[in-house]
């Protein structure tokens, strides 16, 4: 995995990916292969965290990567960085998949989800981005217990705020607020700018 994976932490490598996506937008297949090498690991990581099933995760990751190719001409650099765009897309598609599977199954797998809140280490088991991971782990520790659980369940398990509220037996309004103030605290700890 190339160092450029640490894009969020290392802004100096960011223009590389932006520039590559710009070339992808012009139909440059070589540039797309380079984008793939940078983002496929985190894209699969996100899908795997949410879906947990390896085959489904690969399927979703592939769809996301092809979507990156297809929609690159519409990517707007003034609205955010390329890595944010791609990982937001990956998370959204993974969440879409987990929810459509749940809906189609009309299956209440809450029991499995709710018996306990997963630890960060569990949801990110096969991790290579050590620096990024250490930083995220350190910053997650600055959250309150409820903030951390709510953010972890929503992001890494793809739960809606309603499911998160049920999982944590908290009122809906509280969960909405905790998701927001938890992310704000994370944002400040990680030094994220949009």
């Amino acid at each position: 995995m190339r160092e450029a994976v640490h894009i969020g932490r290392n802004p100096s490598s960011e223009p590389d990916l932006q520039e590559l996506v710009g070339r992808v937008a012009l139909g440059d297949e070589e540039a797309f292969a380079a984008v793939y090498d940078v983002v496929a690991g985190p894209v699969l990581g996100v899908a795997r965290a949410v879906l947990r099933d390896q085959a489904q995760s690969e399927e979703v990751a592939q769809e996301v990567l092809v979507e990156v190719w297809r929609t690159a001409p519409r990517f707007r650099a003034d609205r955010g960085t390329a890595i944010n765009w791609i990982l937001t897309l990956a998370h959204r598609r993974a969440v879409d998949r987990v929810r459509s599977v749940e809906a189609a199954a009309a299956r209440d797998h809450k029991a499995a989800l709710l018996d306990r809140t997963p630890e960060f280490d569990e949801v990110t088991e096969q991790v290579e981005a050590r620096l990024e991971r250490e930083q995220v782990r350190r910053c997650l520790r600055t959250l309150t217990e409820i903030q951390r659980q709510a953010v972890t369940l929503a992001y890494y398990r793809g739960l809606t705020y309603r499911q998160t509220a049920e999982a944590l037996t908290l009122p809906l309004g509280t969960v909405k607020t905790r998701l927001r103030d938890g992310l704000i605290r994370l944002r400040d700890c990680l030094g994220v700018t949009a």
Partner: protein
Amino acid sequence: MTTTDPHHLTGAYALHALPEEERDAFERHLSACDPCARETAELSATAARLGLATVVTPPPAMRERVLRRVTTVRQQSPGGPDPLGPARARPRGRRLSQWALAACLAAAAALGGAVWQYERAEDALRDARRAERAADEIAAVLASPDARTRTAALGDGSTGTVVVSRSRDRAVFVVSGMPRPPGGKVYQLWFEDGGTMRSAGLMDPGRTDQTVLLRGAVDGAARMGVTLEPPGGSAQPTSAPLALLAFPA
């Protein structure tokens, strides 16, 4: 706290934790609330950092598949209305279904009534795009010079034909006269290789005749199977295969 103030939804939105209706309502609010839009952008970027912390090394075959796929996927044009919008999905689907039907008939005689199966998804736009991609891929598999077919009786009077293109590494399953699955269950397709079953997607339980693109690459699989599974499908088969078809050499 039980506020419904949309300003408080920035976090839930950035984490994709809003159900669809609330997401749409929040997006309308965003377009009229600059501070919310700014905060949402920052929190989405923060959520992406949670994603960057989870790197799973993809198998090398995935890289090949994706890079091969994009050589056949047309890119959107910059700006302007989405060329693959839902309004165009129906005519295109219909045209391709007839094309696919004709190709199926040529490829596997005595099969009729093959109907293109739209995949169900909650998002109609994605549906149309995916259906189009799948329809293109079905057409490409059936038309590929190295397409090989194998037909077998599946019991219950139904007939199944599998069409494989080794060069595209994809397979299409054409079935006619398949009874509807009992009790809300679904037929799930599988790739089988050395006793290992890999999901290849679901069939439409509402159709007795259909043409389905097996999801994922053939990737050396020796056979394909069909099982009866609970709604939504299973990660691994939970019942004995109703049919196993060896891929033609």
